[in-house]
């Protein structure tokens, strides 16, 4: 398949207080970015269970993006510290599962960083286009 023509699909988990609001700001400011990202709202990046991410990859998501408040600015004081540690561990685990770690990104995006959000989506979409479509691993639930 010609890679450049396929729009990759990015499953994104955004914390309600910073990153989701940042994505809203990109909207209010009418900043355009590729139609690749679909945002799931979570209260905090610390709410993102690595299993959700693995499930997305399992079902063929081309990329997963987790975004939260900048370290130190978590609405719940410490949630993003936990997600930072958890998700760096997950990143190392991805290779073991045969998932290219470039498909997985964690970004700190504040409520005032609409442009940074749009930029992140652009960059990631570009990289995923280069990588080509991901493989769907299984259709059955791992639960």
């Amino acid at each position: 398949m010609p890679l450049a023509e396929v729009e990759p699909k990015i499953v994104a988990f955004f914390c309600n207080w910073c990153s989701y609001a940042g994505a809203d700001l990109a909207g209010t400011s009418r900043i355009q970015y590729p139609p690749s990202v679909r945002i799931i709202r979570v209260p905090c990046s610390g709410r993102v269970n690595p299993r959700f991410i693995l499930r997305a990859f399992q079902l063929g998501a081309d990329g997963v993006l987790v975004a939260g408040c900048h370290p130190g600015d978590c609405h719940y004081s410490t949630g993003n510290y936990f997600s930072r540690r958890r998700l760096s561990l997950l990143r190392r685990f991805l290779a073991y599962l045969g998932i290219d770690e470039r498909r997985f990104r964690v970004r700190w995006i504040s409520a005032s960083e609409g442009p940074r959000f749009a930029e992140t989506v652009k960059e990631m979409t570009e990289e995923l286009r280069q990588l080509g479509p991901a493989q769907k691993v299984a259709a059955t639930s791992v639960d």
Partner: protein
């Protein structure tokens, strides 16, 4: 089988013009569990909400999905809507097809598939929704106001005036803040202290206001209605119960140091009050200057002369722990340090000063008793150059915004200069003159016409010394030529910036701040004094540059929000909290240290498997302490911990719906 209703909002043309809603409707009708789909031009309008309520009843809907603007905008509105039709308010999901779709993917062919995905995901989540019930918590009807400038003073007075107790915490030894440093105020030329000090006195005399100066809030825990603050009262080395404020100590004290209140232009003693009308009017010993502390117990002159015996060198910091129902943050602003402008002399020329320094030089209580003298040689300046936008509107210097107050106070300075020194001439270098405000444009006219200030449109490229003469080199962009002005004094309208420690303050109190360090309001238009932490409100320039009338108005608004909270005896708490399934909990306690609110405790369960009595320990969430972050739900190894409203099942369903 659930009965989901999907409601597609046009938002006028905001959504309808960029998303093919008929296609979204067709797709939605094909989704499992969906029994009704409907469009409306404005779903949030009263008729729009009424269609939702009617459809719930007519079609027996038990879940509602609304595809409209961000849930941060109208989730609350629509929760009330569905509640009005007898549905639990938490059986509602919002698909954000405006901010996350139509506004960023304006092309219909691009936007429509995204909208379809978002609606499908919201439906999948809604199917997993469960009814949630709020609980209620009491309200501690006392307010904490942080910052004793005009914003904090006004907020404290308004809250106290409504009959509630207030604790006002100020870091400096006196309240008054920036406004106390000003000489006159625009556009009326009211003397700043004359209008401020009566309010300061009112604060000190109001029995419902407890004033804590020379104090700082160290930490804030808890939640709306029930905050717990730790406040450090720094040692002043003076016993305020005994002190009469007679002034003998600071008159006799032999040690002097540049005074902070006068921005280093004048001197103060080691034991001091910052300015004559300070509240409280009792002194503080600055231990960094005082000989007793610097030279091993020498001097003690103040102690010898204090007839009240109030000097207490052994005094230590005191920690207060107090409960509050609401917090108003009014920590003010700083001025951008113009030493960072190399071309303006990098802070090396004593006669290149900031506008706030000029205020002190003009003030009758300032270091020169109100006689305008230039700092280098004490001469009266005849030619004064004012430079606007020093730092402001200058991305290269890191401040992209307009500081808002400088155009007006420069006009004021030009008028004051003419008044004090009639044969003087003011020159103002400006980019634009911005005068939006009642009587502001008229005031600016007064500066040009009556005071004869010469406004030059253009930037200054350099200030240098030609011999002993300061020379300002700039460009007049209207004439398109270079200008050189010989100046006796140069006044820089330095940018209004956030306090250097603003990010730390925001982190300590638990709300967000923007790239410039200004505190972020919950919504730029509709919630300008709220933070995104319930129960914490903002007033004054800590939220962004503001003049005095705006600050006073905002402080009043913050006070009204506090009073509104205190008018209730019970507050409804957010039901989206963590919940333990005791069946699955192994009692490992991994969830406990991860909780930032100490909301997880343990309880003992007694069970009788096979008739044998067995007790085991399981986790239990205190719902009034839980903020609903969900960190524990991820830490739980047995999957016993879940977060209501963002449950494992809901998020799982969303992922699956997206990857279809």
């Amino acid at each position: 089988m659930k009965r989901v209703g999907v409601f597609l909002c046009w938002c006028g043309s905001n959504i309808a013009a960029h998303v093919d809603l008929d296609r979204v409707q067709e797709m939605s009708e094909d989704l499992g569990n969906v029994v009704h789909v409907q469009q409306n031009k404005y779903m949030c309008s009263e008729p729009g909400q009424e269609t939702v309520r009617k459809a719930i009843q007519r079609h027996g809907l038990d879940r509602v999905v609304i595809a409209a603007c961000s849930p941060r905008m109208h989730e609350r509105t629509f929760r009330r809507t569905v509640e009005g039709a007898g549905l639990n308010p938490y059986l509602l999901e919002i698909a954000n097809v405006r901010e996350h779709c139509s506004w960023v993917h304006p092309d219909k062919e691009t936007g429509t598939p995204v909208a379809i995905d978002l609606v499908r995901t919201a439906v999948a989540k809604a199917v997993q929704d469960v009814p949630l019930q709020s609980s209620y918590a009491g309200v501690e009807k006392r307010a904490l106001v942080i910052g004793g400038g005009i914003a904090g003073i006004q907020a404290a007075l308004d809250i106290a005036g409504s009959g509630y107790e207030v604790v006002l915490v100020e870091r400096e030894p006196t309240i008054g803040g920036r406004m106390a440093q000003l000489d006159k105020t625009f556009p009326t030329l009211d003397c700043s202290s004359c209008i401020l000090t009566p309010k300061m006195v009112e604060v000190s005399q109001d029995p419902r206001i407890r004033l804590l100066t020379y104090a700082e809030v160290e930490s804030l825990a808890g939640y709306v209605g029930n905050f717990e603050a730790r406040i450090r009262l720094k040692a002043r080395s003076v016993d305020f119960v005994k002190c009469t404020g007679c002034g003998d100590c600071w008159n006799k004290c032999p040690y002097r140091t540049p005074g902070e209140f006068d921005l280093g232009l004048g001197k103060r003693k080691a034991i001091f009050i910052p300015f004559p009308q300070a509240i409280p009017s009792k002194p503080t010993i600055d231990r960094d200057t005082c000989a007793y502390f610097q030279k091993n117990g020498k001097c003690q002159v103040c102690k010898k002369f204090c007839q009240a015996g109030a000097i207490d060198f052994e005094q230590t910091d005191e920690i207060l722990e107090e409960k509050f129902g609401a917090v108003v943050v009014a920590t003010g602003f700083d001025l951008w340090d113009h030493a960072r402008y190399g071309e303006y002399g990098a802070g090396e020329h004593p006669d290149v000063i900031s506008s706030l320094e000029l205020e002190r030089l003009l003030s009758a209580s300032g270091p020169s008793d109100g006689h305008l003298k230039r700092p280098s040689d004490g001469r009266e300046p005849k030619r004064v150059v004012f430079i606007q936008c020093v730092g402001s509107r200058d991305e290269a210097k890191g401040v992209g915004y307009c500081s808002k107050i400088c155009c007006m106070y420069t006009a004021k300075h030009a008028i004051m200069l003419k008044e004090k020194i009639p044969d003087s001439q003011a020159f103002v270098f400006y980019i634009d003159v911005r005068t939006p405000g009642k009587n502001y444009e008229e005031f600016y006219r007064r500066a040009t016409v009556e005071a004869g200030a010469q406004y030059i449109r253009g930037r200054v490229s350099r200030i240098y010394l030609r011999g002993k003469q300061l020379v300002v080199v700039g460009e007049d962009t209207l004439l398109g030529q270079k200008v050189e002005v010989e100046a006796d004094l140069v006044v820089l309208a330095s940018a209004v910036v956030s306090r250097a420690d603003a990010p730390q303050v925001a982190q300590k109190l638990g709300f967000s701040y923007d790239n410039y360090g200004f505190f972020t309001e919950a919504h730029p238009k509709l919630a300008p004094v709220e933070t995104n932490t319930a129960g914490i409100f903002l007033a004054g320039a800590c939220q962004g540059p503001k003049d005095i009338p705006e600050t006073v108005a905002q402080a009043g608004a913050a006070a009204a929000k506090v009073v509104r909270l205190f008018a209730k005896d019970k507050l409804e708490t957010e039901p989206m909290v963590a919940r333990v399934d005791p069946e699955h909990c192994a009692g490992c306690q991994w969830c406990r240290p991860i909780c930032p609110y100490q909301a997880i405790g343990m309880e003992t369960l007694t069970e009788r498997p096979g008739g044998r009595r067995v007790t085991r320990r399981v986790a239990r969430v205190n719902t009034s302490l839980c903020h609903g972050c969900g960190a524990c739900s991820v830490a739980c190894r047995s999957g016993a911990m879940n977060l209501l409203g963002f449950s494992n099942e809901q998020l799982w369903a969303e992922v699956e719906a997206l990857c279809l």
